[in-house]
């Protein structure tokens, strides 16, 4: 167990309060369209619920993912998620990336192109991880 954890003491952050205001406003008009946005991808698509592979905290609590790390363009059907591994040498980055990708693929309309990135400079083998996530995706 001693050698098992890559980051033994991750910093745990408080989760921000959910914004519930929107949920009510959206159902008033039958014809209005709620576009898919940042928060929806982040919040409603349950990125929050993916757990860190080695700790019982969600990715949000560990600030691996934040609301700002999600970029959505509904008209162009494109999502880009940039995540920040907790430590530079985190070998779990690939797994996290894949988790996020699968989750999004299952939860977004098929027209979306999903792009997962490791935040620049936060991982030792950034490029390698990138390749690995993408290649697994292409299978």
């Amino acid at each position: 167990m001693v050698s098992g954890l890559i980051n033994e003491n991750p910093i745990v952050y408080e989760i921000k309060e959910r914004r519930d205001v929107r949920a009510y406003s959206s159902n008033t008009d039958e014809l209005s369209v709620d576009a898919i946005d940042q928060l929806e991808v982040f919040d409603i698509l349950f990125v929050r619920d993916i757990k860190d592979p080695e700790h019982p905290y969600s990715l949000e609590q560990l600030k691996v993912l934040t609301e700002d790390s999600v970029e959505v363009d509904d008209t162009k059907s494109h999502v880009r998620v940039t995540f920040t591994p907790t430590v530079e040498h985190c070998s779990m980055a690939t797994i996290i990336g894949l988790c996020v990708r699968v989750k999004l693929m299952r939860s977004l309309p098929s027209r979306y192109k999903i792009d997962i990135r490791v935040a620049p400079g936060t991982h030792a083998t950034e490029a390698a991880e990138q390749v690995s996530v993408d290649s697994r995706n292409s299978k």
């Binding site: 033994e8 003491n9 910093i11 745990v12 952050y13 929107r22 949920a23 959206s26 159902n27 039958e30 209005s32 369209v33 709620d34 898919i36 929806e40 409603i44 698509l45 349950f46 299952r106 939860s107 977004l108 309309p109 098929s110 027209r111």
Partner: protein, 997 residues
């Protein structure tokens, strides 16, 4: 135990230290050890003299023979006693952000010990530790609160003599706590008029409790407070700023905290109050310019100092806080009358010396305030309120002064022509004072209150010619007067008078018209049969045909506002105020008197408002009144109507309806003509008439047979009684039975649809009382749904639609009538009964239906029936119903008109899916259900339908895997499509559902 023996020759100090150690160590194992040591400890500690706190630091190091004593080289670390041992388990993971560093946790332990071990341990070192942590290290709220609580326990347990030594340390710590926990934003809002006006955090509350405890216990603690430099500084601070907003945050804080400190210490006991007042009140008065320093240095009360009064907000606030707290002390001092008055009440005399000037100052603060600055008004009103709330005969405020306060507040209310903060504040203050007088039953003050406030306001209501807008007067009056029953009486009297005068005013200004009676006959119906709304609509119906517009609408507007006020403000509080019912019944009767004596009435939009208000008020009054008062009102109504010159045909039936509603046992003289009237009206398309008829057949006692005969078997049109109207003319012949009209044998389409709707309401009335004639009605309605009627004529689609909707009327709970509020007769399980009658017939009709339209309509009707019946009934019949429901869903999804019906039917389906009872048949029909639901996931007209359909699909997963697996692909496809739904909620459900499948 060894420790004690060994340290015996080391003198008091080391004993103390040793104790310290064993104590700290015990901490790690919980509290068992101290419990055992108890008696001995106590003994030792009793022998011990005062302990200079510092000694322990010196002696800890060299201790020899401690079981868990410090090892060499660590003596420095151990200087704090417990540190050595506690640290290891409390430090936590370095870098982890979960709060608690070692310091904090340790202190919790400390606090726990002190309170747990109580008086056995020397308070000295523990207290010391707690102070230092309280004031400097700790910033965690819980710990702070715990420390303060623990200190309070110390104060209780250790007693004065022991605590005294620590006052010097205690006071700064306490002060720090207060300063740190007070926020600088003082609220000048309405709601804080009766509360302290600042937010009380937990720390703050504990700190205040501690302070109060300390002062109560030992008056000498107050010496520290009084001499405190910061407290004294504040008087300079307040004179530096005129307005609260101008103050720096730090000075705001100073003022607020000092006012808290002073008021809390003053509240603790009469003595402390005396001291505080003696020390500070003069200075405060001086700052405010009420007292002036003469050349000789004496303070002289400046009697006519209105000009020189300086209204520093800070000072006013301080002053108000002191006055508010001191007023709580009066009853306690009255209780112990044995103590000499003079010593007890010196603060009282101080206040009474200045009361006149203070009131003056507050008044000027209120009056000088302009609308954009609420602080002036707030402080002024609050000050006046504080001055007015002194209790009992020993109050420092004399009666004349009290009256002056009341006059000032009342004048604010009456003078303002717009609703401002000041107005609201003054009103609230008056209400506060009113309820305060009532609570402590102060007869003298009540008299002043009555004379000044109540009579003034009531006379304003009566006159109705003043600058103040009418609604505001009414609001003020009703608020103020509801504080005491006698005021209420007075007020209702005033209202009555006001109503009468403005109503007659209104009537005089009109030309003669004959409609008044009719309107008020209808009002009478509302009174007595409690179907106010229906009858109101009837009245509108009549009025719309015949009214003309002119007259003095201001007075009628006043009337309606007055009635509204009665309805909204007074009626809900009926149970709270004794005697209100009686006055209100009187009010209702005098309304009738007024109506009786007046002979004109006009109607337009404003008139309608009035009628509406009148109906509502009357209805509600009668609704809450006792049977006797109901009867008396009805008697009045009857008299008015019977003496009237209106055509008998129109007045009598309405009177009958009136009698019928209020007292079910009353005999009904002329059901026939009443029924006629209603029939005629609803055939003209006036639905409320149908509703009224429905509730009439619902409630009728003996007259039911007759009424039903009239409705079903006699001609609904008897020539002369029908007003000349296109649709009713066509009824013509005497054989026009209602059912035939429904089927379109006579008259136009309009007539037919009206008849169908009317029939539905009548049917509902019968259905709810469990009459079997509803079966006939259902048959007629179903006949209408067929594409062709018995004689081969094709039915119009709109008639069919109405007939289908009639089933909704029959089954649903109505808001407007025939519900519990309107005292309908409701038999249990009536919906189930109707369900079992109609569903089989509808099913067979659906099977045999000839045209798509009729099929759709039959489905709509069935959907109405099915969706309004309790779910349990459906569950008992799932096997039979499920195919029909599914077919209904697919039929209804074609047209967007039926979207609501579709949704309710879908809800029924979802109910069967989730229940264990329906499981078997759901499983049997799985393929059809899934097919249907998949279709509905893309239903474009209603978002909730899509959402529910997807939810249902997710629920279906509970079925055996083998049963649903074949549809997996189909479902996933549909749900994936739904992922791109325009609505977020649908997408959410789709994600969940997809995940699940």
């Amino acid at each position: 135990m060894r420790i004690w023996r060994r340290s015996g020759n080391m003198g008091d100090r080391s004993k103390e230290t040793g104790k310290e150690f064993s104590f700290g160590k015990n901490g790690n194992r919980g509290n068992q050890q101290p419990a055992r040591l108890g008696p001995k400890d106590k003994k030792i500690s009793n022998m011990r003299g005062p302990n200079p706190p510092k000694t322990k630091l010196r002696n800890v190091g060299p201790m020899r023979g401690l079981v868990f004593g410090p090892i060499s080289g660590e003596s420095g670390l151990s200087a704090r006693g417990k540190r050595l041992r506690v640290e290891k388990e409390n430090v936590g993971r370095p870098g982890g952000v979960f709060a608690g560093d070692g310091e904090l946790d340790r202190n919790v332990k400390n606090s726990g010990h002190v309170s747990a071990t109580g008086s056995r341990i020397s308070p000295c070192s523990q207290l010391k530790a707690t102070f230092t942590t309280t004031s400097s290290i700790l910033r965690s709220i819980n710990l702070w609160v715990d420390s303060l609580k623990c200190l309070k326990d110390c104060a209780v347990n250790y007693g004065v003599s022991r605590m005294k030594k620590h006052y010097k340390d205690l006071w700064p710590a306490l002060k720090d706590a207060l300063y740190a926990s007070t926020k600088t934003d003082l609220s000048f809002g309405l709601e804080s008029l009766t509360s302290p006006g600042i937010e009380m955090g937990e720390i703050h509350r504990e700190a205040v409790n501690l302070l109060q405890r300390l002062v109560k216990q030992d008056i000498s603690f107050l010496g520290l407070v009084v001499e405190d430099i910061r407290v004294n500084m504040v008087f300079d601070t307040i004179s530096r700023y005129l307005r609260y907003e101008e103050m720096l945050d730090t000075s705001k804080l100073e003022v607020l905290v000092v006012s808290q400190i002073l008021s809390v210490s003053a509240r603790s006991s009469v003595e402390s109050c005396n001291i505080i007042f003696q020390t500070f009140f003069f200075r405060l008065m001086n700052t405010l310019g009420i007292v002036e320093k003469t050349s000789t240095g004496d303070l002289v009360h400046n009697e006519n100092s209105t000009v020189s009064t300086r209204l520093y907000h800070g000072g006013l606030h301080l002053c108000i806080e002191l006055l508010t707290t001191s007023k709580d002390l009066i009853p306690s001092s009255e209780e112990c009358t044995s103590t000499p008055e003079s010593a007890q009440q010196s603060w009282c005399s101080i206040v009474s010396r200045f009361s006149a000037s203070l009131i003056e100052a507050f008044t000027s603060a209120v009056q000088s305030s302009n609308d954009d600055c609420s602080a002036d008004a707030y402080l002024g009103v609050k000050g006046l309120l504080a001055m007015g709330m002194f209790r009992g005969g020993s109050s420092p405020v004399s009666r004349s002064e009290f009256e002056k306060i009341l006059t000032t507040l009342t004048s604010i209310i009456t003078a303002k022509s717009a609703k401002t903060v000041k107005w609201e504040l003054a009103l609230k203050a008056l209400v506060c004072m009113g309820s305060f007088i009532d609570r402590y039953s102060e007869s003298e003050k009540a008299m002043s209150y009555m004379a000044i406030v109540v009579e003034n306001l009531v006379s304003l209501v009566r006159s109705s010619h003043c600058s103040l807008p009418h609604p505001m007067i009414l609001e003020a009056t009703s608020e103020v007067c509801s504080t005491r029953p006698t005021y209420v009486e007075k007020m209702v009297e005033g209202f009555e008078e006001a109503f009468c005068s403005s109503f007659s005013d209104f009537c005089v200004s009109l030309g003669p018209m004959t409609l008044d009676r009719k309107v008020f006959t209808i009002v009478s119906v509302s009174i007595s049969n409690k179907q106010g709304i229906e009858s109101f609509l009837i009245s509108n119906y009549y009025l719309e045909n015949t009214c003309q517009v002119n007259g003095n609408f201001k007075s009628i507007e006043n009337c309606s506002q007055l009635l509204e006020c009665v309805t909204n403000k007074l009626l809900p509080r009926l149970t709270e105020i004794d005697g209100l019912e009686k006055s209100l019944v009187n009010f209702a009767i005098s309304m009738w008197n007024q109506i009786e004596s007046s002979i004109v009435f006009s109607y337009d939009f404003k008139g309608r408002e009035f009628v509406e208000a009148a109906m509502k008020t009357m209805g509600e009054i009668v609704g809450v009144a006792s049977v006797d008062s109901q009867n008396s009102i009805i008697q009045k109504v009857y008299n008015v109507i019977s003496s009237s010159t209106l055509p008998a045909m129109e007045s009598i039936p309405l009177t009958v309806a009136a009698l019928e509603g209020a007292s079910p046992k009353a005999s009904i003289p002329d059901v026939k003509s009443l029924v006629h009237l209603f029939l005629v009206s609803f055939l003209k398309g006036y639905i409320p008439a149908a509703q009224a008829l429905g509730s009439m057949v619902n409630k009728l006692g003996t007259g039911l047979e007759e009424a039903c005969d009239t409705i079903f078997h006699e001609s609904s049109a008897s020539g002369s009684s029908i007003p000349s109207d296109d649709s009713s003319k066509t009824i013509g012949g005497s054989e026009a039975l209602l059912s035939k009209i429904c089927l379109g044998f006579y008259g136009s389409l309009d007539l037919q649809t009206h008849a169908i709707t009317g029939l539905a309401w009548i049917g509902k009335g019968l259905l709810m009382r469990g009459d079997k004639r509803v079966g006939e009605i259902a048959l007629v309605l179903m006949e209408c749904l067929k594409s062709t009627n018995s004689s081969g004529n094709a039915l119009h689609p709109s008639a069919m639609k109405h007939a289908a909707d009639a089933f909704l009327t029959l089954m649903s709970d109505s808001e407007v009538c025939l519900n519990r509020k309107f005292h309908a007769v409701i038999r249990p399980l009536y919906k189930q009964r109707f369900f079992s009658i109609t569903v089989p017939i509808l099913e067979s009709l659906i099977v045999n239906s000839q045209t798509p339209l009729s099929r759709t309509m039959l489905h709509v009707a069935l959907a109405h029936v099915v969706s309004n019946v309790p779910v349990t009934v459906i569950l008992d019949n799932t096997k039979k119903l499920l195919p029909v429901i599914l077919e209904g869903l697919s039929v209804l999804s074609v047209d967007s008109v039926h979207k609501e019906t579709l949704f309710s039917l879908l809800l029924v389906l979802s109910g069967t899916l989730t229940d264990i009872k329906g499981q078997q048949s759901v499983s049997d029909n799985a393929h059809r259900i899934i097919e249907c639901l998949v279709k509905l996931t893309s239903y474009p007209h209603l978002m909730v339908v899509r959402e529910t359909a997807i939810q249902c699909l997710a629920t279906l997963l509970e079925l055996p895997h083998g049963r649903i697996y074949p549809f997996r692909r189909e479902v996933l496809q549909a749900v994936t499509k739904a992922l791109d739904d325009p609505k977020r909620r649908v997408r959410e459900e789709a994600i969940k559902c997809r995940q699940a499948w």
